[in-house]
Amino acid sequence: MTPETRARLSWLHRWAGLVSSWAIYTMTLTGTLAVFDTELTRWMQPQTATVPARSMATPAALEQARQMLAQDDANGLPPAFLRLPGPRDPTLRIERFDGHAFSGPVLDPRDGHVITAPRTEGGTFFFDLHYSLRVPRPWGQRLVAAFTFVFAIELLGGILIHLARVIPDYFTLRLRAALPRFLLDVHVLTGTAVLPFHVMVTYTGLILAAGNALPVLGRAGETPPPRPTVAAHWAPTTPLAPLLEQTRALSGHEPEHLRFSPGQVAVFATRPGSLALDRVSIPFDATTGRVLGPPAGPGAPRPDLAQQATALAHGLHMGRTMEPTLRWFWFVGGLASTAMVATGLLFYTARRRASAASGPAVVFERLNAGVLTGLPCACLVYLYLNRLAPPAGPAWPNVEVGGFFATWLGCVVLSSLVAPRQGWRAILAGIALMGLATPVLDMATAPDARAEFSTSFGLFAGVDGLCMLAGIVAGAIAVYGPRLGRARHGKNRQGHAPAPAEASHKKAGP
């Protein structure tokens, strides 16, 4: 590659990153959290800890759910989904889409009684933020598709720029180098260490967003005419337990959820422990319980190649049907993506700070501090509000979501009012305090702490532990980060020559 081509690619990489990195940072961090969205929802509904793991829905519980659905139908509510107990969540849930997330009453799968858990968006909030940035449909998805495209170009540009130095960069982390050099090392290291993951998750994300990223125009893009909207009853009158039995027999997999439409119940089953999201749907008559058609979907006996490829892309990107160990790998890969994006941004501001002490660079640096530290801070506030704010009826999820965005905005305002270093330290200290205190909060506010320990210790300890880890990391950055930066600047102010690494970086550039 000629130096001119490399310079052009560097420009593209830098500016594409600057334009989109805050959104991509949000997408990567919330996507990482969404890997454990079900677990987060359960943490936010500690009342569900009384349900033993691996519970199965009994016919009595299914009948209770059917009666509740019939009542909703009689009250004129739109159709709901019935989520069945699974390995990650042993409860029975009636969920309804509110434009952003699915929420609804939680039932005990053993007898069908309603568990008095707070109505929350739970982990699906992070899922929604990841794939739509909380912007109303369809603009949110379009925005995310555009940012995914930009991220794919950035990633490819970054690979081409660093191609000649991939192996040396893989083993390079100069902790004692100048701050920009150190940040660049971390940026490149987090990029190269899990490069296959970055490539996989970006391209599968593009496939998921392809409807918006690559729209089809003209006759080929015509959407099917919407079915006439009629006031019809959607709740099933047939018992649900036999439908699940038939689904098990026909598909060979455990049913996962049921969808209802007038005259029809579709039971969906998924092949567990698979990289692909192999889902089968079997339609049943809502009155007689008779099978209306053969199993359909990627998990059906003879799916076509396109279906299989799409199911693989969905499965790889979301990691829903994977084993827990693999899901943890996805989580670590997501954290690496987040660190890569964040250090890329910080590298830019640190480098600009070295050349210009005022102007847009400082404003950008302050906003950077607010956006980058504000998001994890807001995530912790979201969890805290769930446990501390008094129940507010149907508007409950809005309290948590409102608190999340208010905190994030507050962090941006704070960091733009004070010096960048102070802004960083204040917000990081807040994250450290909240993160380290999360286990105390959990124990203090759990309705039945003993049940948490006995039935779902791994889940609650996992969420508490990750919050503590976030607190420790934030505390370490708050204490050691500015100290390192000050040492470098102090050296330069005293008139010493810059370190060789810094000098070589200034010559070469990224």
């Binding site: 739109p78 699906t124 170009i153 540009g157 396109a306 490829a309 799409t310």
Partner: protein, 135 residues
Amino acid sequence: MSELRAHAPRLAGALCLWAALVLWGSDAIDFYSSLTTLPLRESAQIYRLCVTAAAAPFMMWPFLVRSRRLAFWLPLGAMLGGAAVLAMTQALPPAAGARVKPAPMALVVPLPTPAQTPSAVPGPDAPPPRGATAP
């Protein structure tokens, strides 16, 4: 800013290449569906699967060529060509094989009552619960 001005034709070229992918892709899907019995919806799915992987390197091409003019005019030509073909195919009557396949499991919802907000009613394009594939 001068850097931006220097790279503007390449940036425009990259956007033109994206538009060319969309336009030629729409033409290709329409054409392929008229030749086969494959519904438009499935042709579009196959097209997107194939093109998604190639789209990012394709759009970076203007930054890899030396000539700034070539980086702009060739993508512009590709885009205009795609638009012209699409306009012509739209003027022709649809082929017998081409058809729009209805969604297999579209939700038919009751009319919303005044108490329900529009956002509370999931339409046919409402996503399935937490990560489920589109119906």
